[in-house]
């Protein structure tokens, strides 16, 4: 049963693939936003994302479809679709291609090694851009280390999690409560600075985290601790009404000692994997409280909800998936 009093798909940019998963001519099936989609990279190097099912007889373009020039060919009857979703060629058609032969095309942005699609309930153009992360492709920084989870959680919960200061001690075994150094919101951007005491590779020290949200689906973060500097790209994509895909890509500044980078990456693989795993059982079984009982020290949870309301605006109008739900505001 759907557990949340609002749409599962707020407006914003959502990750559908990493750029390296789509080389030229490659096709990838995608589940996102309650839809079956297909992503492919044309010979011109651009990624296109379309609704997956052919309007002809329903085949999934992502399983067996192939790229022809900058178009994708259906594996069933070879109908060709361009990046705008229009059928441009039917090899055996003696007449004109019917106008109705088209699928929905998605607005795509490839940035920081990630392919994003834009979702808006009313079909409007993107209202903001995802900024460049300087550490990506910087030779002083390592290639990203990638983590993936599919969990039964709403994207709103994932977004609130980083601002829920009190859970770091209980869930993640931090040495103390993180201190909120800064908190600002401006339009679609939310910035928060935290500092916390942690034990990293046997060294106890304070680390700082500067976290920037670009909508609910894209989070960039800088982490600095004793002898360690990380750049993080965290992306969350609602898969269907119940589930989200969470992807984390972590880069670290290369040290002059190669073995240290190796050890750090080994450590991160374990640390991030287990740290994140602590949130999952809580998310999968919790309820969403519209009017939570908050204590001093809980962090700016209600401010985050207030800020997030902009992405849910008029959600009820187009999303048939959630029409049977009451649309309560995020802040009760």
């Amino acid at each position: 049963m759907y557990r949340y009093p609002f749409t599962p798909y707020p407006n914003g940019w959502y990750r559908v693939a990493y750029a390296h998963e789509l080389s030229i001519g490659e096709v990838k099936p995608i589940e996102a936003l309650g839809r079956d989609l297909v992503a492919f990279r044309g010979e011109d190097g651009r990624v296109r994302v379309l609704d997956a099912h052919c309007p002809h007889l329903g085949a999934h373009l992502g399983y067996g479809g192939n790229v022809v020039g900058n178009d994708i060919a259906c594996p069933f009857h070879d109908w060709r679709f361009n990046g705008e979703g229009e059928c441009v060629d039917i090899p055996y058609c003696s007449g004109r291609v019917p106008k109705r032969a088209r699928v929905d095309a998605w607005t795509v942005c490839e940035r920081n090694g990630v392919v994003f699609i834009w979702w808006d309930h009313q079909g409007r153009q993107p209202s903001f851009e995802i900024p460049v992360v300087a550490e990506v492709d910087d030779p002083k920084w390592t290639k990203p280390l990638e983590f993936t989870w599919r969990t039964r959680v709403h994207i709103q919960e994932v977004a609130e999690n980083a601002l829920d200061l009190a859970h770091f001690g209980k869930v993640h075994h931090y040495l103390d409560f993180p201190e909120l150094r800064s908190f600002t919101t401006e339009d679609h951007v939310l910035q928060v600075g935290l500092s916390a005491g942690r034990r990293v590779m046997g060294v106890t020290g304070r680390s700082t985290m500067d976290i920037t949200y670009h909508g609910l689906g894209v989070v960039h973060a800088q982490v600095a601790g004793p002898g360690i500097e990380l750049a993080v790209i965290l992306t969350t994509t609602p898969v269907d009404q119940e589930h989200c895909d969470i992807h984390i890509a972590v880069m670290n500044r290369k040290s002059r000692i190669p073995l240290k980078d190796f050890a750090l990456r080994r450590y991160m693989r374990w640390e991030i994997g287990t740290d994140f795993a602590h949130d999952i059982p809580i998310w999968e079984h919790k309820q969403y409280r519209t009017r939570p009982l908050l204590a001093k020290g809980d962090g700016p949870i209600m401010k985050v909800r207030k800020w997030a309301e902009q992405f849910y605006e008029e959600a009820a109008t187009r999303d048939e998936a959630a029409t049977d739900k009451t649309h309560l505001p995020l802040v009760g």
């Binding site: 589940e31 309650g34 079956d36 002809h56 007889l57 329903g58 039917i90 007449g95 109705r100 009404q241």
Partner: protein, 280 residues
């Protein structure tokens, strides 16, 4: 596997169990308990007769038991035409379970253009426009296809003649034109629970009748053609394998965008509706 929300409804916009004759069990399996047409059914010998709970009309063909199913319990309104298999080889039987509906499986055989992209056939030609005779559907085409399931295999022209009787039984006769070899596939589709089907096929090839002086060789030649039937069945299996890859992920397009060159899909769908009328 998780399914995206927009496909999380019933896959097929029509009845799970169409009216008609469906293969339900092998004679050799009796007695057998099976869920048929949504109900638990016991098929067993009763004296000299075969009996099945709730299914009064049964027929045995080639060791297979066919049952008549009708949503409002009406008696059989047609018969599957008899087939004379006397000069044909022993059948090669294949059985598998697929996630589909009899309407979708049979639609595949009238979807002429998919043979080209999915199965690598070429040079499509319609031999006779598709036509219907009540519960029977006829179509015939000509293609060229690889003789064996191998990229280096030579291509041969073949003629395909399809006759379906209801959605549960169809007979496909394939002639390899240059050598005059004829293969006969009887394809039986039976709907199961949860939008799954059993797909049974019996493949035979025609064995030549040897003239008088050679008649002593008839027996070894017939056995040789039993072997040829296995080769023919290999070709059929390769085609089914290609289809399954697609069926796993496709949805049933209720309002497909069809073009003139698509073959008889539109007339097939109109014909198929007679087996899925909603019970009054």
């Amino acid at each position: 596997m998780m399914r995206a929300a927009n496909t999380e409804r019933t896959r097929f916009p029509f009845r799970a169990y169409p009216d008609g004759w469906f293969a339900v069990a092998k004679l050799a399996e009796l007695p057998v308990r099976r869920t048929l047409f949504g109900r638990p059914t016991l098929i067993r010998w009763h004296g000299q007769r075969i009996e099945a709970t709730d299914l009064p009309h049964l027929e045995v063909r080639d060791g297979l038991i066919f049952a008549w199913h009708h949503a409002s319990g009406e008696p059989p309104s047609f018969r599957i035409p008899p087939v004379d298999n006397t000069r044909w080889s022993k059948p090669v039987i294949d059985t598998l379970e697929v996630s589909s509906h009899p309407q979708e499986v049979l639609e595949n055989t009238v979807d002429t253009q998919h043979f080209i992209k999915v199965h690598g056939y070429r040079d499509f030609e319609s031999l006779q426009p598709a036509y219907t005779e009540g519960p029977h559907f006829h179509a015939s085409y000509r293609f060229t296809r690889a003789l064996l399931d191998h990229p280096a295999s030579p291509r041969v022209p073949i003629e395909i003649e399809i006759q379906a009787s209801g959605l549960g039984y169809s007979r496909v006769e394939v002639t390899v034109v240059p050598v005059g070899l004829r293969a006969r596939l009887e394809v039986m589709v039976t709907p199961l629970l949860d939008e799954r089907c059993t797909l049974r096929s019996a493949t035979r090839v025609q064995s030549p009748a040897l003239p008088g002086p050679w008649s002593s060789l008839q027996w070894p030649v017939d056995r040789l053609f039993d072997g040829v039937a296995h080769l023919a069945a290999l070709g059929g299996r390769a085609d089914v394998r290609d289809d399954l890859r697609l069926w796993q992920h496709k949805i049933y397009a209720t309002r497909p965008v069809l073009i003139r060159d698509d073959g008889p899909i539109g007339s097939y769908r109109r014909w198929a509706r007679q087996f899925m009328r909603e019970a009054a």
